[in-house]
Every structure is written in C-alpha cells, then in structure tokens.
C-alpha cells in the first residue's frame, strides 16, 4: 500500500530524514518510535503532504502512485489521514460543518453522493458513541477551547468519520490520560481491517499495549535503525533509545 524508499527530507538547511525505507501493506499496523528530534513527525507530515518540507531524494508510492506528486487534499481524498500532533483551531467554524465539508469532498472524489445534513448527523452520532465523546463538541468551533485530550479525541473522531485506508497517528498518545488513551486506541482498533493500514508514531510504548502493532521501527537521527515485531517496543522501553543508537553507531546490522 505504502512504500517509502530512501527518503531524504530537508527543512531549510537541515537534513532531517536521511534515507528512510518503509513498507506498509494493507491490513498492517506499524509503529514508528524514536526520541525527540529523530524525524518521526517530519516523516508523518511529509507523507500527509505538508509543503514546508523539502524532499531532496527518494520516492514514496501509495497504491502504486507517486505520493509526493499528489496535493495534500488529493492524498486525503485517496484515503490518507493524519491525526495531528497539534490539532489546529479554526474560529467560528463548527466541528460539524468542518467535518461535513471534509467528508463530502472525499465522497465526491470517490464518486459517492454527498451526504445531506440529516444523513451526516446520523453517521456522526453513531461514530461519536464509539469514542465516548460529548456530542456538544460538534457545535463548537473546530478545536477552539478544546483541552489537549479533547483535541486528540477529536482527531480520532474525525478519522472514524472519514474512514481512511491509511491512517497516520502523529503522537496522538502524548498528553493523554489512561482513560483517553484507551478510548483513542479503541477508535484506532475499530478501523483495523484487511484493507486498511495504520502507522502509529509515538515516543512511548504505552499506547502499543492497546494498539498491538505488527511491526515496530526505531527511528533515530533520520534513519530507521532497527525494525522488528511488537516485542521491539518493550525492548526499547526497557533499554532506552541510547543503547539502540550506540548499537547502530557500532555498525550492528539492523534487522528488517
């Protein structure tokens, strides 16, 4: 579904990603873990199409198409969703209006009929239960005055409504208490399907207790230095990133 080959990315003069390789198949859940400043969020945002980053080398294909040539909205319409680390506030625009506009843009692209207000509301109410979210949130302006946890839950709620095929969670777990974490994990697990894939970008192993990944990748200094199964996350938690870095520097072969 997604294939990243030798991806190099710069912001200004700084090279952040220094040759990332990643292959995600339909039905899989991947976790990308790494310390602060390792390039995790950059990878997520480049995949989603943020244009502040400059791709200097490498390629990314999504369903066989060159992802890097697609506009962010086209990626979204083709089923790529990113849950933001810092969801953005839009004053005066209700969450419901925003989400309906997004959903209909995606539906239109897929040749589906646009939903009217009634059908949309029915859909939304069903999804909102899933996330144990307050219905009143829909009438509030997008992310405005939301607590940190509400913002993150709102991202997962949007994801549930938009039903992406590839969901990228950019540190969705940061700042969540354990109850919210479980709710978010439930939302993600509900999305797991043979046709869909999820990339969970995180600092901590904690969320992986609830979203069990098929693969774990360790990203350090712009490179994936080690990949493995779900047990790698535990190993990482126990040993810390430093030992992996040392191992990588010592030239130990990274498992793939």
């Amino acid at each position: 579904m997604l294939e990243v080959k030798n991806l190099h990315v710069k912001v200004g003069k700084h090279e952040i990603l220094k040759g990332v390789n990643l292959k995600v198949n339909a039905g899989e859940v991947h976790s990308i873990m790494g310390p602060n400043g390792s390039g995790k969020s950059t990878l997520a945002q480049v995949l989603a199409g943020r244009e502040t980053y400059e791709v200097t080398a490498g390629e990314v294909t999504y369903d066989g198409r060159n992802l890097l040539e697609m506009a962010p909205e086209d990626r979204a319409r083709e089923g790529l969703f990113m849950a933001f680390q810092y969801p953005v506030e839009i004053a005066g625009v209700s969450s419901a209006y925003f989400l309906k506009a997004a959903l209909n843009a995606i539906r239109k692209h897929r040749g589906l009929e646009e939903l009217d207000a009634m059908d949309f509301l029915a859909l939304v109410k069903e999804k909102i239960k899933l996330l144990a979210t307050d219905e009143r949130l829909l009438n509030r302006a997008v992310n405005e005055g939301f607590s940190g946890g509400e913002k993150k839950r709102n991202e997962i709620f949007q994801m549930a409504v938009l039903e992406p095929r590839l969901a990228i969670l950019d540190e969705t777990d940061s700042g969540l208490d354990i109850d919210a974490l479980k709710i978010v994990a439930n939302g993600v697990n509900a999305l797991r399907s043979p046709g869909g894939a999820v990339i969970v970008v995180t600092h901590y192993q904690r969320i992986l207790n609830y979203i069990i990944p098929d693969y774990v990748h360790v990203l350090v200094d712009g490179r994936i230095i080690k990949s493995g199964g779900k047990e790698l996350a535990l190993e990482l938690e126990a040993k810390g990133y430093a030992s992996f870095e040392a191992e990588a520097r010592a030239g130990a072969p990274a498992k793939t």
Partner: protein, 485 residues
C-alpha cells in the same frame, strides 16, 4: 518561505463578474459643477423651490470647503486628486417618461438588473423582498409598492417622495446628516440625484425586506444617492442595499448620504452588501466610495442596527453611526470589510451616546489580502447626560499574505462616570498550519481559506437577513479568489 505565503503571492484575480456595461441612451448633464448644473438637476427632477434652495445652500458651502481645505485628509487612504469639474453629475437612461408600471421600464434596464441577479418583475422575485432599482442618477423601478401601501408603508424613489411627501422630506432631510456635515455629505446635498425613501407608520411591522439596488453604468459619472428612512413609534423595518458598477479604467466617485430616524420603540435594521467595482489587480480603476451614513435613535427604546459587508470599491470611506438620543436606545454596528489587491478601506462607526442607559455594540472584522489596506476607525462618545451608557467593541483583523495591512484607530470619549466600556481587539494571520489542516482533511486550499474567512466573519453574517447571508458568503469567496493559489 512557506507554501501558504507563496500560494497567496500567486495573485490572479478572477474577473469582476458585474463589470459589464449596458448600452443605453442617456440623458446626461454636461461635465462639471456650478450653480447652473444644480439648477439643471433640480429642474430635471421638477423639484419644488425649497429643494433647490437647499441644494444651492449646500453647493455654496461646499465651494468654500473646496477652496479652503478640500477633502478631509485624516483618513488612512491614498489616492490622486479628484477632478470635480470632470465629473458628470446627472445621467439618466432615456426615455425618461414617468413610469406607471413595470411593463413600461426599458427592457434593456430590466435585462441589466436580471443579469445582476435582481429580477424586477414581481412574480420572479422571491417574495419577502421589495426592490427599488437605481440606475445612474434615477430610480427606474420599485416593486411591491402597492402591497406595501396597503399597510401605509411608503417605499419609493427619493425624487418621488420630494414630490408626493414633501412634508416628511422637509421635516427629516438633513436632520441627521446636516448639509454642513462633511465635504462629501455637503457635495451630496448639492447634487444628489436619487435614492430610496422609506416611511413606516406607527405600529407597523414591515412584512418584507426592503432593498435598493444601486448600479453605476455611465462613464465619468458620479453617483450621489440619498436615502431617508423614517420609522414611526413602534414600527420595524429591515432594509438592504446592494451595489455594482462596470469595469472602467477611470476611477468613479460615489458619495452617498443615508439618514435613518427611529422614534420611540421603533427599530431599523440596515444592511449593506457593497460590491462596487474594486479596480483591477494592479489597482487601476474602481469606485471611490465616500459615504456618510448615520441614524438617529430619537425615541425611547429606539434601535438602529447597521450591518455591512464591504468587498468592493477601490477606496471605501464610511462610518455608519448612531446618535443614541432616546433613553434606553440601542445602536449596533456589524461590519466585514475586505480589501484585496490594491483596495483601501477606512471604515468603522460612530456611536454617540446622549440618552440615559443607552447601549451600543460594535463588531468589526477586517480582512486584508494582496496589497490591501484595511483600517478600522471608530468613535464611541459618551456624553455627560448618558448615565448608565454601555458600549462593547470588538474589532478583529485577519491578514492573508505579507504585503497587506491592518490598522485600528479606536477613539473613546467618556464624560460620564457610570459608563461601562469594553474593548477587545485581535489581529491574526491565516496560518499555513490552518490551511494544511484543512487540506489534509480533503478540502482544497481555496475552500480552506473560504472556510476560515467565513468562520472569522460569522458573528457579522449572523446579523444579515438570511437570503443575503448566503450571498455575502459567496461574495466573500469570489472577492478572495486568486488570493491563494
């Protein structure tokens, strides 16, 4: 450089869709301004002597102003000299016979208004709105007149009111905006040609929106309309004006005066959707919009509310205000002003509190894109006797790109210790992060900007009559088109 900025820099303005010219034979006065021209205008309108005398008084005063200091210079706007002798002050489509019914209106004119989305044939109008259509210097048609007359409501061209209701015109004309008020209001008093007149009798709630549509067509012509609305005790009226003009390379002058009078327990709601030709993307051409609008909440519990959406004109200079004379009277001002390309707007309001426990609300939203310069200028004045007066002001600016400007000049004068004043202001930029958030959800950049701008203006749009709120949103998106790539 972020993409949003580069995208915003890719300015490619969409064509102004109302820029067409109607080919119609006009009966026009020669260029220039002198007493003979004023006599000519007055004669063309077959005005009574008192009207001519008032015009001449205004003209003579204006001539002294022009000689002394010319136009007011305090506004934050820049433009070349206006040649007052190069303007045509009267232009009317021929033939200019008195019209008895809509069927007699020149089909070319009907077509023009149809093209502007203002069908004048009553059966085609969505019910609930009566329209007075003003083309250059004259009112060409007023719909639903008879239906309104059944309730005693007068809705007609200003020139018709001068003929048919001289007692009302004489009583109220100039009572809110005297002919000495300011340079442009004085000019208007001398040369005004047409406009709308509304009178709502005691206790009557006007059942439909009243609307005037102003269209400048002829070249080198100024439009100087004058509108007067009188709401008798306990009455209510909602009035809307819209305006467009053809695309021309020369700047054209529009200097209007609007006076509102609300008596005890009366309410006037006045909404404007201003879409004069703004000039091209290099800043060539466009309307100079110098307008004086003021309401007098004369009676106890009277309420006057201004809502304006200003998206057109090369220069906008207007401060719709309310004189809160009656005790417990209320004044409101809700404004969205958008400047794109090289447009300049210096706009705001004046709330003059005189009566006790008077209350005013100001919500002003300025949006600047391209090289647009947007200034909010507002005066809140609480007089000595205005015990318990309250004002709430909120003025917010939104910037798109990095070559536009937003400026705020709030003036507050309080002479009563018991007054309560609140002032909130903010300036924000549409962030690259906001746009990315929207595009990541499947919206295009343009949709993202429209969404963000509409959210920003929501508080004001809520005040517009429903049909027009939708129009205003569309207008805003068209006016912003090309400001993001």
């Amino acid at each position: 450089m972020t993409t949003a900025t580069t995208a915003i820099e890719a300015l490619a303005n969409r064509e102004y869709q109302y820029g067409f010219v109607t080919e119609i034979e006009a009966d026009a006065a020669p260029r220039g301004l002198n007493e003979d021209i004023i006599r000519l205008i007055s004669a063309k309108k077959r005005e009574p002597a008192w009207m001519l005398a008032w015009r001449l008084k205004a003209y003579r005063y204006w001539a002294t102003l022009e000689k002394a200091q010319g136009e007011p210079k305090w506004a934050n706007i820049h433009y070349g000299p206006i040649d007052y002798q190069g303007i045509v002050y009267y232009s009317a489509p021929k033939p200019k016979q008195a019209l008895n019914s809509l069927e007699e209106v020149d089909p070319e004119l009907l077509k023009t208004f149809e093209k502007l989305g203002i069908p004048l044939e009553e059966q085609k109008r969505f019910t609930g709105v009566a329209v007075d259509a003003v083309f250059d210097s004259v009112s060409v048609a007023t719909t639903f007149k008879e239906k309104l007359a059944e309730l005693g409501i007068i809705f007609c061209a200003f020139s018709e009111a001068v003929q048919k209701h001289p007692e009302l015109v004489r009583k109220y004309m100039g009572s809110v905006v005297p002919y000495t008020d300011n340079f442009f209001a004085t000019l208007n008093a001398a040369v005004f040609t047409d406009g709308s007149f509304v009178y709502v009798p005691k206790g009557v709630r006007c059942p439909m929106e009243l609307s005037t549509y102003f269209r400048i067509n002829a070249a080198d012509t100024g439009q100087f309309e004058r509108t007067l609305i009188i709401a008798e005790p306990g009455s209510y009226v909602s009035y809307l004006e819209g305006c467009t003009a053809p695309k021309r390379d020369q700047n054209q002058l529009h200097a209007a005066v609007v006076e509102l009078i609300a008596l005890d327990d009366a309410e006037i709601k006045y909404s404007t959707i201003q879409n004069w030709y703004p000039g091209d993307k290099e800043g060539k051409g466009g309307i100079y919009n110098f307008v004086t609008k003021r309401g007098k909440a004369l009676g106890r519990n009277a309420k006057i509310s201004w809502t304006q959406v200003e998206t057109g004109a090369a220069i906008t200079w207007k401060y719709p205000g309310v004189i809160l004379q009656g005790d417990h009277s209320i004044g409101e001002f809700y404004s969205v002003a958008l400047t794109n390309n090289y447009q300049q707007a210096d706009t705001g309001t004046k709330m003059i509190h005189i009566g006790k426990n008077t209350k005013s609300t100001i919500v002003a939203k300025g949006i600047s894109a391209g090289h647009g310069q947007n200034t909010y200028r507002g005066l809140v004045k609480i007089g000595k006797g205005a015990v318990g007066a309250r004002n709430y002001t909120q003025c917010d600016s939104l910037l798109l790109g990095d070559r536009c400007g937003a400026h705020t000049f709030p003036y507050i004068e309080v002479k009563t210790a018991s007054a309560q004043m609140e002032h909130e202001a903010s300036t924000s930029k549409i962030g690259e992060d906001q746009i990315f958030y929207c595009t990541q959800r499947g919206l295009t950049k343009e949709d993202a900007v429209n969404l963000i701008v509409n959210g920003f203006c929501k508080r004001v749009f809520r005040e517009l009559p429903m049909e027009f709120a939708v129009e205003a949103q569309k207008l805003l998106s068209v006016s912003l088109e090309g400001s993001v790539g």
